[in-house]
Amino acid sequence: MATTVHEPPKIGPVRGAKTARGNGGWNLVPADGDLRVGERGSPPPASVGVWVGMAAITMSFAAFTSALIVREGASSDWQHFSLPSILYINTVLLLISSFTLELGRRSVARVMSRSQDQAKAPPLWFYVTLALGVLFVAGQYVAWLKLKSEGLYLATNPSSSFFYVLTAAHALHVCGGLGGLVRVIRKLRRSDLRRSTLDATSYYWHFMDVLWLYLLMLLWSKM
């Protein structure tokens, strides 16, 4: 809201009269009480929104987890199997992608903070990240094929069911992240990328890492 200038508030005539008692129980700040919205600007919505979104996603996966634990305990038909080793490669890919994204973000941020106009050409790192992300999803798919070849299908056993469901859910969210990344690159090209969008996207991406590490641990301990 910096775009508009506004005059300092006029202080009106003081009414001496008493007001109602118990006026909501909060104390009156006469004027410009809270300036967190205004010139100094609030944390832009994107970076708040992304946290809220991550909270929701966390909740969903918490639900999946509790379902998994309850279902495992529900009966003795839980079949253990060894995770396809490609998962570990995928993990490394994802971690690296986070790193490259961070490099890209830093470089763009540097330009942004220096001058109004921002880097026209999106740094190479973004494309690397994109590629790694795609590789990760593809890798997950390979992992599925591996399980299929072992005769472990979605309905074979609760353990395999949960494996597919969890990996699929996570892969879907990663695809969302990829979408965001593409958007960032496009905006950079059009040079109307907002810092907050960039940060939000990268937070989300790192969150996908953390989530995946958690899932890997869960699967590793349960499968």
Binding site: R21, G22, G25
Partner: protein, 267 residues
């Protein structure tokens, strides 16, 4: 308008209370040993809930009556005690109230669920299925034959999927479509469901328990009044849910023995 509204609230409140006070649709007479605890608890709760209901509605009505459509000049007056007073009052009054209810309620709950059935309790198995109950008595050997779901064949009345050729325990099991129990004898009811979630509800026994697929629960109770009562299903189980019922006959020990002989003969 406002005064009329206040009156309406009072009238509705009283009208709502009358059927309760007059016992127009009372709970049926209790026939179980643990029942009195529940009934007592019900009465206490009714008293407390009723009082708070009437009090709240009356005060609401009174204030609407007193303070609506006042002149613009009328002064806004402050509620004596203010918010904090109310909060403290609420926490103390309601807090102690619900705490008391909770503590005493626990007694009734414990009477049903925390006490193990006595050693000489009579085991009866009830199997729920769309949309009927079937009851099984272990017979002379006192052992239930194992249930083989793949052997369940209603067309030939093998409701429990018993293996009558190979399973000695199953041979003398007595299966009936109604439940008969001797009076003043503790019953240990083993609950099994054939297909979906159902529930076992006998108003007079003050007993309600769901059947959970894949999870065999058990109940125990003692009926102390002879008579014929209805067992109904209270867990939505499909199109015949409303018609899923059976009869519970509480008999004297002798009548029960003869009844059991009859059933044995029908097998």
């Amino acid at each position: 308008m406002a005064k009329f509204f206040a009156i309406t609230i009072v009238v509705i409140a009283i009208a709502s209370a009358i059927p309760i006070v007059m016992h127009m649709w009372p709970m049926p007479q209790d026939i179980s040993v643990h029942g009195p605890l529940i009934d007592e608890q019900m009465a206490d709760t009714m008293a407390e809930a009723g009082i708070s209901f009437l009090a709240a509605q009356f005060i609401l009505a009174a204030f609407i009556w007193m303070f609506s459509n006042r002149s613009r000049e009328a002064k806004i007056r402050r509620f004596p005690g203010g918010a904090m007073g109310l909060v403290i009052a609420a926490v103390l009054l309601v807090g102690t109230e619900v705490l008391a209810l909770g503590v005493f309620g626990t007694k009734a709950w414990a009477a049903v669920y925390f006490t193990p059935p006595s050693a000489d309790a009579m085991p009866i198995q009830v199997q729920a299925g769309q949309f009927a109950f079937y009851f099984r008595y272990p017979g002379p050997d006192g052992k239930f034959g194992t249930i083989h779901p793949d052997k369940i064949d209603e067309a030939n009345e093998n409701f429990f999927g018993l293996d009558l050729t190979n399973d000695p325990a199953a041979k003398d099991d007595i299966v009936a479509a109604e439940m008969a129990i001797p009076v003043n004898k503790e019953i240990h009811l083993l609950m099994h469901t054939k297909d979906l979630g159902h529930s076992f509800y006998v108003r007079e026994l003050r007993v309600q328990q769901d059947f959970v697929p894949g999870l065999d629960l058990s109940l125990h109770f003692t009926a102390n009044k002879i008579g014929k009562y209805e067992i109904v299903c209270t867990q939505l189980c499909g199109l015949g849910h409303y018609n899923m019922k059976a009869y519970l006959e509480v008999m004297s020990q002798d009548d029960f023995n003869t009844w059991l002989k009859q059933q044995a003969a029908n097998q």
